[in-house]
């Protein structure tokens, strides 16, 4: 992605409209002159594309990475603005949308640029709007060909072939026949059919700008040396920065750690890095590991990391400080990490069901990242041979010319199920054009409903959508059947009706109902099923919201793994036989609170609002689990061994937080629920504030502030933890209750780990619990045991004092512990810093300074 932000504001270059009409030549001249004045005159391909655009043609721009597609997109918006037209920019990922939004604000000014994603909407009426492909597709369905969309720029257009999301790239092409399109991607393959179809629909010629040679040519090499040796050689040859491509997040991190033994960065470079990251707060766990790696000049980059760490690695890479980055193949989509060499550790990947060779598109998406425009004279793409091939070749080489020795060499076989590759596959991939994209059109309740909401000839519009798309005939017929079934379902649910032979809406439907947390209306209905006076009301509300969120697979499978482990232990204790155990184990899943209630409610709701059937309800407990286990973010990640997926956990928690804030009405809130929401928000902010702060600033319409947050190099320091007393109090209570939970499980090692530093090790806790369990059978852990009945908390000054009492069955309240909470230390640490001062039976204790 070209950094267009360094150019002067483009809006000043707009030619004056002459009596309402603008001359295309003048627009082109103005744009070209502006680009040249910024020191980046248009390349021939950019030039050609911009000329086609100002003359009103569609453009399919499939030029390699680094050929300045962003500048052409800017040209499209520029031409549209000059003619008083409305232009849209779409990208597949929200992060890219906001990246582009801030870039376009720089170029065209905040008043001219808006952004709409599922999460937020800023200045949505602006002449230039950035949005996800789904937003534009929905707009097209809802408003039809007359939608106020004159120019559409679709970035990463190869998503057209994505099995799940491709429909959103196709729908605008089908519906917006008045618009002018700019379709861009580095890896499109043959687009003749799509281009011809687009010309026919829009009545505009469609220019294809393709096959441009890269500004930085690529050198390819297939190597028979182990990764570490290859890396060392590339470093010696001055071919850093090297991006080492892995096909699993775990592999990327392992490689980075293995490379610690190689000399990646010079002393001087390491000092520069240390200076650059001074003041950056690395949390425990993965953060500490990353800190060590980065200091050695090795970056790690994958989607499971916290955004603040990903951004840090990107920033350091942009400054050229990291000679090596170990990452995954997802780098392809719009991440701005300049690299000289790409080292592929393999040419196969697991695609969710099986191992297979990379497609030409996948290969070129990755390989195309090599070579920095305006910096390198060439980019290097190096592929490793399979490990066993390398080892065999080495053993043979050792044997030398002696035929006897040669025969003795034991050849290593590929591991079972290994899908191999060789130099021939590499060369085939290099030569291959990306495969033609396959149409992935679909029809859903939400799509039909959007078309009905548009009005007019609904049947004709749906029929066109079904029969006039890019699918083969047989699939069109299947889609027609589906559409008919959907219509029948919607009629019987009385969501739509027939009026004068046409389909019409029978109820009010919000414009973005299917986009912004599509199950929120269901959640609203389900809230009514709960009794606010129930002791579990607040947590049950959380469970309803959680059931409507997308499944965070990695977390759920770890929860299931843990539950199964515990179930096995329990069943063994109960003497259940192996076979039966295995059978029972199949039924053990991750926690699904309120599953029965919610599934019944969902079924009833779907009978009236069948479009919710497009989305799956999925009861789960991540927020609730974390709260009930009284854990911090770090505790939770450690407990479920999610170190590699911190970023995923955070994204889920921040989705949950946003949804709760947006969905739960004031009258449904209780003080406890408010505390819980505040707590969750604080957990997210203290872990990585970049997501929430930017979102809140945008929500308040403060583009300038959001822009600052966005451009901050180190993530903004989170606000003082203790500044939010409500949330902080929950954190303190969680920290105290965590010890109650451990005491209830008689886990003295766990308690010792927490409090040994304060003078209460496992032995000390063991002695106390022995005494306790002589007097009582158990420690209560229910909502009651968590309540203020069992907690005395004095919130005075910068040191709070607390006494946590164990809920014993007899109600004697004679055991527990006291602690102090250091507020300043808590602010520093980003979590409640609790120091236990006394444990055991409450007699002869120092008085806690409370009534």
């Amino acid at each position: 992605m070209t950094d267009v932000t360094t150019l002067p504001p483009l809006v000043a270059a707009l030619p004056a409209a002459d009596g309402g009409a603008v001359d295309p030549d003048e627009v082109y001249e103005a744009f070209a002159a502006w680009a040249a004045s910024g020191g980046r005159p248009l390349y021939p391909a950019q030039d050609e594309a911009v000329i086609e655009l100002v003359s009103g043609a569609n453009v399919v721009l499939s030029t390699p990475t680094g050929t300045g597609k962003s500048l052409v997109a800017a040209g499209a918006h520029f031409a549209a603005l000059a003619e008083g037209k409305r232009s849209y920019y779409t990208a597949p990922i929200k992060a890219l949308v906001s990246e582009k939004f801030f870039q376009l604000v720089e170029l065209f000014g905040a008043q001219n640029v808006g952004m709409v994603t599922g999460d937020s909407s800023v200045n949505a009426d602006a002449p230039i709007v950035c949005c996800t492909a789904e937003i534009l597709a929905n707009l097209a369905l809802r408003q039809g060909p007359d939608a106020d969309v004159d120019v559409v720029v679709m970035d990463e257009f190869h998503y057209y072939g994505d099995p799940d999301r491709g429909w959103a790239w196709q729908v605008p092409l089908l519906v917006l026949e008045r618009a002018q399109f700019l379709l861009m991607s580095a890896t499109l393959g043959d687009v003749t059919t799509i281009a011809d179809d687009l010309s026919r629909r829009t009545g505009r010629p469609t220019a294809r700008v393709t096959g441009v040679s890269r500004p930085v040519p690529l050198e390819y090499e297939y190597v028979m040396t182990p990764v570490q040796e290859t890396v060392e050689r590339l470093l010696e040859e001055g071919k850093a920065p090297i991006y080492i491509v892995h096909f699993a997040q775990a592999a990327a991190l392992e490689r980075a750690q293995a490379l610690m033994s190689a000399k990646v960065a010079s002393r001087e470079r390491r000092d520069q890095i240390a200076e650059a990251i001074a003041g950056f707060r690395f949390s425990a766990g993965f953060g500490q590991t990353l800190s060590r790696l980065i200091r050695a000049g090795i970056g790690v980059h994958h989607a499971g990391m916290l955004p603040k760490y990903r951004r840090l690695v990107e920033q350091l890479a942009q400054r050229g400080l990291l000679p090596v980055i170990c990452g995954t193949d997802t780098l392809g989509v719009g991440i701005n990490v300049p690299i000289r060499s790409v080292l592929l550790t393999g040419l196969t990947k697991f695609d969710g069901t099986k191992m297979r060779q990379l497609s030409a598109r996948e290969f070129h998406q990755i390989a195309g990242r090599a070579g920095r425009a305006g910096y390198d004279t060439e980019g290097d793409v190096v592929a490793e041979a399979p490990e066993h091939d390398i080892e065999n070749a080495r053993s043979l080489a050792k044997a030398g010319d002696d035929p006897k020795k040669k025969n003795k060499v034991k050849r290593k076989k590929a591991p079972e199920g290994f899908v191999s590759w060789g130099q021939a596959s590499f060369e085939r991939l290099i030569a291959a054009e990306p495969e033609p994209m396959v149409s992935r059109m679909r029809i859903t309740h939400a799509m039909v409903l959007s078309v009905v909401a548009r009005g007019g000839s609904v049947f004709a519009s749906v029929r066109d959508l079904v029969f006039e798309n890019h699918e083969p005939r047989a699939r069109q017929l299947a889609m027609a059947r589906r559409a008919l079934t959907i219509a029948r379902t919607l009629i019987n649910a009385r969501v739509i009706e027939k009026v004068d032979g046409e389909y019409r809406l029978a109820v009010d439907i919000a414009p973005n109902f299917a986009l912004n947390q599509p199950l929120s209306p269901f959640a609203l209905a389900a809230f009514e099923l709960l009794d606010p006076s129930s002791p579990t009301y607040a947590l049950d509300m959380v469970s309803i919201v959680e059931a409507t969120l997308d499944d965070p697979r990695a977390i759920l499978s770890q929860q299931q793994f843990k539950e199964r482990g515990e179930a096995v232990a329990r069943m063994k204790q109960e003497g259940i036989e192996y076979d039966e155990r295995m059978e029972l184990l199949e039924e053990v899943t991750w926690p699904r609170p309120l599953a029965e209630l919610l599934e019944a409610a969902y079924e009833a709701y779907a009978a009236e609002q069948p479009w919710v059937l497009d989305f799956a309800l999925s009861p789960k407990a991540v927020v609730r689990d974390m709260y009930e286990r009284a854990m911090t973010f770090g505790d939770f990640v450690r407990f479920y061994q999610l170190t590699r997926s911190e970023g995923l956990v955070l994204r889920y928690l921040s989705d949950a937080y946003r949804t709760m804030r947006q969905t739960i009405a004031d009258e449904q809130r209780t003080p406890e629920l408010d505390d819980l929401i505040e707590w969750l928000g604080e957990v997210v902010k203290q872990t990585d504030s970049s997501l929430v702060d930017e979102w809140e600033a945008l929500l308040n319409g403060d583009v300038l502030l959001a822009s600052e947050e966005h451009e901050e190099i180190a993530p903004p320091q989170p606000a003082r933890l203790t500044g939010n007393v409500r949330a902080f109090r929950v954190l303190v209570r969680n920290a105290l209750f965590q010890r109650v939970l451990l005491a209830a499980a008689d886990d003295v090692d766990g308690l010792g780990a927490l409090d040994a530093a304060a003078g209460f090790d496992a032995d000390a806790w063991d002695a106390v619990l022995e005494e306790y369990y002589e007097a009582h059978d158990e420690v209560g852990t229910d909502a009651d045991a968590r309540s203020m009945q069992y907690l005395v908390l004095s919130e005075q000054g910068r040191t709070w004092r607390a006494r946590q009492i164990f809920a014993d069955p007899a109600g004697d309240k004679d055991f527990g512990f006291s602690a102090t909470i250091d507020l300043d230390a808590s602010d520093e640490a980003g979590e409640a810093v609790v120091r236990v001062t006394e444990i055991g039976r409450f007699d002869g204790w120092a008085e806690v300074d409370v009534d």
Binding site: R473, L477, L484, R488, R494, K498, Y503
Partner: protein, 166 residues
């Protein structure tokens, strides 16, 4: 002009739509609405949940290029020994010419060609019973006694299942 029998293809949907619009009473009685724009497509394509669409045959009686009667038959539905008649309809201005019976003969012939099928089955919506029952009874069908609820928007009724041997 001789009447010919030919299965409808997707290109014949407009002819089917025109014919259904020539008998508006049928749609009125079974949906509570006049014929809708999607009725032709639906009669030609829609199949019950889970049935392979290849098992649905839309058979037409053609007078030249004009469709004068239509029947759809689901072979192997609800189980292998049945052929289920989804719809049998004659063009509004061609009633009383024996076209319904001729259409039915074509259906029977189609069912006979499938060795596993020995029963013909169909459903009569109660709101359409006055017209439909005498027709089917004359062709040898009897009620099985089984009925199911039927609903289309505001129209709530029942559907009775009738059968005869092939």
């Amino acid at each position: 002009m001789p009447i010919t029998i030919r299965d409808l293809g997707a290109d014949d949907v407009d002819a089917l739509q025109r014919m259904l619009e020539s008998v508006p009473d049928y749609a009125e009685r079974t949906t509570g609405y006049p014929p809708g724009p999607s009725d032709g497509l639906s009669a030609l394509l829609a199949v019950p949940d889970g049935l392979d669409p290849a098992h649905k045959h839309g058979i037409g009686l053609w007078d030249g290029s004009e469709l004068v009667a239509f029947a759809d038959v689901l072979v192997g539905y609800p189980s292998a020994s049945f052929a289920f008649i989804g719809l049998l309809v004659v063009r509004g201005d061609r009633h009383g010419q024996g076209l319904g019976r001729a259409m039915h003969d074509a259906v029977v012939e189609r069912a006979r060609a499938v060795s596993t099928v020995d029963r013909l089955r169909l459903g009569i919506v109660a709101t359409n019973a006055g017209v439909a029952e005498p027709f089917w009874r004359a062709l040898g069908y009897e009620p099985t006694g089984e009925t199911k609820p039927y609903r289309y928007d505001h129209l709530e009724s029942t559907v009775a299942l009738w059968e005869r041997a092939v």
